[in-house]
Amino acid sequence: MPAPLAHPVLKNGVGAFIPQCRRLVFHYCERSGSSRGMIEYLKKDLIQFAKEHPHVEVIVTPRPSKHPVIRGLYLNGRDKVVCVRNMEPKDISGKVTLLKESAGNRMKVFNKPVISTTESVRGIWSPFHAAPHKI
């Protein structure tokens, strides 16, 4: 597994917010039909996206005879790969937004509404520090 590209940002958002998506690599094929929407996206929408997100390094590389793919690289060293074969430019920009807004973590189920590492403010209940039970 590749090492993290930077020191892990603890408590991202408290002092400063650092966007976690570091790089987006666009692979396409010049000839194949599944890359048609991808090529249209690269011509029309990609430059604007790159200007709006200067913190993301955008790389476009032909990958002949393969389906078009977007690979996002994150600060924790993980990458997310999305195949965009046969997709229209509108759908491709949706996938790009998905990669851009993610943080590189594995997909997980969020069971609790608040994720916290601070210990409880009011403390854990103890029978020795509570008013005695009265009947």
Binding site: K11, N12, G13, V14, G15, F17, P19, Q20, L98, K100, E101, S102, A103, N105, M107, K108, V109, F110, K112, P113, V114, I115, S116, T117, T118, V121, R122, G123, W125, H129, A130, A131
Partner: protein, 172 residues
């Protein structure tokens, strides 16, 4: 709407065997703070000196929690927490959201309970949008036995994660 809300201060320590002091404060638009003591005598000394005003009692305890209401749902938060919400459509990464609908603001021994919300002159609570991920696939399986009915629904929930970047109680 916030100007008409009032707040109650009550002590949360279980060891306080006397009745908890209740303090009602009028709306911020009104005249200064008023203290209406309960049946016990201990509150009457907490009159108008600013160092022992109810909010400062809470503030001196240094560690706070708040029950914030976001989209009509309560979230009990402290500083540095991550709030997991359903996807907010109109925010971008890095946006700072100020949470003003606070139902309860507390520390170890004291809490201010809003009616319905705590007056915003007592606190400053901010949250930053750090991520907008997609969750893992959740499957709902329904079956009615002996009726040839079963369904599988798959959802990939969209979330917005907020990091509570600031949770401060303001001195009065």
């Amino acid at each position: 709407a916030v100007a008409s809300s009032t707040s109650r201060l009550f002590s949360t320590t279980c060891s306080a065997s006397q009745a908890t002091p209740t303090v009602t404060t009028p709306s911020p638009a009104g005249s200064g703070e008023g203290v209406s003591p309960s049946s016990t005598a201990s509150v009457s000394s907490v009159a108008s000196s600013s160092s022992s005003s109810p909010i400062n009692l809470l503030r001196d305890q240094l560690r706070y929690y708040a029950v914030a209401e976001i989209k009509n749902r309560p979230y009990l938060i402290t500083k540095n927490d991550i709030i997991v919400l359903d996807r907010l459509k109109d925010v971008q990464l890095g946006d700072v959201i100020e949470l003003t609908q606070i139902k309860e603001l507390g520390s170890k021994d004291y809490a201010i309970k809003g009616q319905p919300y705590v007056s915003p002159e007592y606190f400053s609570i901010k949250a930053t949008v750090i991520e907008q991920p997609k969750g893992k696939i959740v499957e709902t399986f329904k079956k009615k036995r002996r009726k040839h009915f079963q369904r599988r629904y798959h959802i990939k929930p969209l979330h917005t994660l907020l990091r509570v970047s600031e949770l401060e109680v303001k001195a009065q």
